[in-house]
């Protein structure tokens, strides 16, 4: 039987995914694109993410032993399933590139201005590859172990930041017109829809009756912390928010209440560093599983070599700085992303409503196999 992860570990994966690409540049991009409606845009996108997560978990409940690949293959055939998986593979690689660039930018802004891409890759890749190589179960355990520290760290960041807050400080939420809000939503879609991995790893998650409750409790708590950080960030920097590209560090660094006691942003730095490695391993693991489905055989080494080569080539020669990635994502990637955040959820809804053959041949075969 293949390695499986627990529901609690899936909850940790979801919580980390919720945080990874949203703590650094996203808040400033949201403010830049929709000014005071940034919180509204974030709320809409988070709500959509929650709906998607709900759909994916329903799919897991209905087909506990099947992954997205088998579900697509069921009605649309192998070729289409592989085509969809190639697009999703590209998305995960881009998410990795975005994560890397955000991390490097953050390091240069906050930690060490001479921080080099080579140093980053020399540290990031071996650790993430070691995690992927050790398997899904030990990676999930590592994330579960570290999640406690991340969670405590985030709470610290929240309390060490500006906590005197009044609604009036936020400014009018509906200052922007609705079309601008929707356009921002479509442009920043790449930073969201992170729960796609749930349906990709679906067959590797142990089925448990109250899984929705457990996973949603992790997600909702993390989401509340994240929203609180967003609100504090916007409250602190308001119209100048777009200048602060390292949201999580800046809200503790520029604290007015306890800023005199020293630079307490070390907590934010450590929290974010842990998140980088954990999220990197989640993306890498998902990309590995997708790769194996595309090529049709399971070979860890081949998958790792291919993904690492893709990352290195794109990172070193094409997307070597954050602005390049952000421009590419906002201008082009949103069209490809439609597969991830519109087509797949819609297909899942279709399966939930119309697919009555729960005990079809494919399902039976896979269940027997496991």
């Amino acid at each position: 039987m293949s390695e499986q992860i627990s529901v609690r570990q899936t909850g940790c994966f979801c919580a980390i995914s919720l945080l990874a690409l949203k703590l650094i540049t996203l808040p400033s991009i949201l403010v830049q694109m929709s000014t005071s409606s940034a919180v509204l845009v974030a709320s809409i996108m988070f709500a959509l993410d929650l709906v998607m997560l709900f759909i994916y978990l329903k799919i897991k409940e209905k087909y506990p032993k099947l992954s997205l690949y088998e579900l697509i293959k069921k009605y649309l055939g192998t070729v289409f399933a592989k085509f969809i998986y190639i697009i999703i593979f590209g998305l995960f690689i881009f998410k990795l590139i975005m994560l890397n660039n955000e991390a490097i930018s953050y390091m240069r802004d906050i930690v060490d201005e001479d921080f080099k891409l080579s140093i980053y890759l020399m540290t990031f890749l071996p650790v993430v590859i070691a995690m992927v190589n050790s398997g899904l179960r030990s990676s999930a355990r590592t994330v579960e172990f570290g999640f406690v520290f991340i969670f405590i760290g985030l709470i610290f960041c929240l309390f060490l930041s500006e906590i005197t807050f009044t609604y009036g400080d936020m400014g009018p939420i509906f200052k922007e017109n609705i079309s601008n809000i929707l356009s921002t939503c479509s442009s920043v879609g790449f930073w969201f829809s992170d729960f796609l991995f749930v349906v990709i790893l679906s067959d590797k998650i142990k089925y448990q009756k109250n899984m929705k409750k457990i996973i949603f409790s992790y997600v909702i708590i993390t989401l509340l912390i994240l929203m609180a950080l967003y609100i504090i960030y916007i409250r602190l920097f308001n119209v100048t928010s777009f200048l602060h590209r390292s949201a999580i560090a800046d809200i503790t660094q520029y604290n007015r209440n306890i800023g005199n006691s020293g630079n307490i942003d070390i907590i934010a730095i450590l929290v974010y560093m842990f998140i980088i490695f954990f999220q990197g391993s989640i993306y890498f693991l998902s990309a590995k599983i997708i790769f194996e489905k595309i090529v049709g055989y399971n070979n860890k080494i081949h998958a790792i070599i291919f993904i690492t080569t893709c990352i290195l080539l794109l990172q070193l020669f094409v997307f070597y700085n954050l602005e390049l990635v952000i421009d590419f994502v906002i201008d082009y990637l949103k069209y490809f992303g439609i597969v991830a955040w519109i087509l797949i959820p819609l297909y899942c809804v279709f399966l939930l409503i119309f697919d009555k053959e729960k005990n079809n041949e494919l399902f039976k075969a896979k269940t027997k196999q496991n």
Partner: protein, 472 residues
């Protein structure tokens, strides 16, 4: 007697192999034994005197059942003669019979059970195992007078034939794990076994691993507590150390003292140990990375203090830390090996001459010494982990000096993941935290009062998960 001559010849006619001959009922009776390993007084009282006093018909069966006053007498065949003699038995031959009697008269100078130096207790049992496996078995029997206690013995080592005993509770220990361990012990192929550490690398799944994959104890109360959790213990004749399987990292953060004190204090002290463990490994690396790359996060007053003491040093910060670390490690090693009366002199040379003079001469900085000393002392909050922590500290020092904080975090995740990937006997190494096992959290970093610990740890596979009266 030819067979006796043959045995003596096989054993190189060593002078301590002694033969005694008696004539009883017109038949020759021979005793053969290694004189240095038997209790001579007991031999006289239990074997020689009854033989000399006996006037009736002579045969091995009659001697065994009616004459000898020994506790352990066994009839053996020709093939077993040498083996039994080497296991310190007295062999008794009767002329005209092909077999012999093997009589247990073993006697070695052994020390009395005393408090082991590695696990002292403030309020709790002080009895420790000794080098004799007989004492180990006796102490375990005393601690655990249960019908469920199973003791299996094996003889390992082509030359040494060392007795290795396995202890477990048949109503608790996972049968699959027991079988696996038995198989691994039987498959050990080595010349000599002097200590459990000689066989442990044959037993564990990853012999090259930096991290421990077995628990160890020198006290019967600790081993008994582990057996009652469904674990399996292995003792080796000649060593007071007993190793246990399966193992989890958090066992080393627990201490037998925790169970003989207030549970709140035990919890507090476990957190201190966990903090000590982190300090021992990463503090020098973190200090180095803050000094080299991330000085912005250090409050201004500290930066001024550090820069004032380090500005004229001839070494780079990395070399300075490495130098202090190696220096302290040498001093530590010397203090372990030197005779006790020389220890004071070493301390004076180490602390005063090398440390103080080194600072005054401007070769090393006081913050560097403080950080390394703190790290070295902190290792002993978790003494069982000391060897690997000393190596990991060096790795983190290197990571901090080259890749900064990012490297240290990466290193931490790498090691945590590595520990997680060691799933020896299907037991998660970082349980009850990864994977989180809610019931086991009662005896994790937090220690609940004893009445609340109604379940055995789920992370260790056991047949019966509930502690209590129904088990006996």
């Amino acid at each position: 007697m030819k067979i006796i001559e043959d045995i003596k010849k096989q054993l190189n006619n060593n002078p301590d192999i002694l033969e005694r001959q008696f004539l009883i009922d017109n038949k020759n009776v021979y005793l053969l034994f290694i004189k240095s390993t038997i209790d001579k007084t007991l031999l006289v009282h239990s074997v020689i005197s009854p033989l000399l006093d006996y006037k009736g018909e002579i045969s091995l069966n009659i001697l065994s059942s009616s004459v000898l006053r020994a506790v352990e007498v066994e009839k053996i065949t020709k093939e077993q003669f040498t083996k039994c003699l080497l296991r310190n038995k007295v062999l008794l031959f009767v002329e005209g019979e092909s077999g012999a009697l093997s009589i247990d008269m073993e006697f070695f100078p052994t020390r009395q059970p005393a408090e082991p130096p590695t696990s002292p207790t403030i309020q709790g049992p002080r009895e420790g195992f000794t080098e004799s496996i007989k004492t180990t078995i006796a102490l375990m029997r005393k601690q655990l007078p249960s019908k469920h206690l199973v003791i299996k013995s094996f003889f390992v080592g082509e030359m040494s034939h060392t007795q290795v005993s396995m202890f477990y509770m048949d109503n608790l220990a996972d049968k699959k794990t027991v079988k696996q361990l038995e198989k691994r012990i039987k498959n050990i192929n080595t010349d000599i076994v002097l200590d459990p550490h000689y066989i442990v690398e044959f037993i564990v799944g990853r012999p090259n691993s930096l991290f421990e994959q077995y628990g160890s104890a020198e006290k019967p109360d600790i081993v008994t507590a582990k057996l009652m959790e469904g674990r399996i213990a292995i003792a080796v004749d000649g060593s007071p150390i007993v190793i246990t399987f399966p193992f989890m990292m958090f066992e080393d953060i627990q201490n037998s003292n925790d169970y003989y004190t207030n549970s709140h204090y035990a919890t507090f002290i476990r957190f201190i140990r966990a903090f000590g463990l982190i300090m021992a490994t990463v503090i020098p690396g973190v200090y180095l990375s803050l000094r080299l790359y991330h000085y912005k996060v250090v409050p201004l007053k500290y930066i001024l203090t550090i820069s004032a003491t380090t500005q004229n040093l001839p070494f780079t910060p990395f070399l300075e830390m490495l130098f202090i670390l190696v220096l302290f490690q040498i001093l530590y090693e010397v203090s372990l090996r030197l005779p006790r009366y020389l220890g004071i002199a070493t301390s004076i040379v180490g602390a005063l001459v090398l440390g103080d003079t080194g600072v005054q001469a401007g070769l090393i900085s006081p913050p560097g010494i403080i950080v390394i000393a703190l790290s070295l002392i902190a290792v002993y909050t978790v003494p069982n982990q000391a060897p690997q922590l000393n190596i990991i500290r060096l790795v983190f020092l290197f990571l901090g000096g080259t890749l900064g904080l990012f490297g240290i975090v990466g290193g931490m995740i790498y090691f945590i993941n590595y520990i997680n990937s060691m799933n020896e006997f299907n037991t998660p190494n970082l349980a009850p935290y990864a994977p989180r096992i809610t019931d086991d959290l009662k005896d994790g970093l937090h220690k609940a009062p004893m009445p609340k610990m109604t379940k055995r740890p789920k992370s260790v596979k056991s047949i019966d998960e509930t502690r209590g009266i129904h088990n006996e």
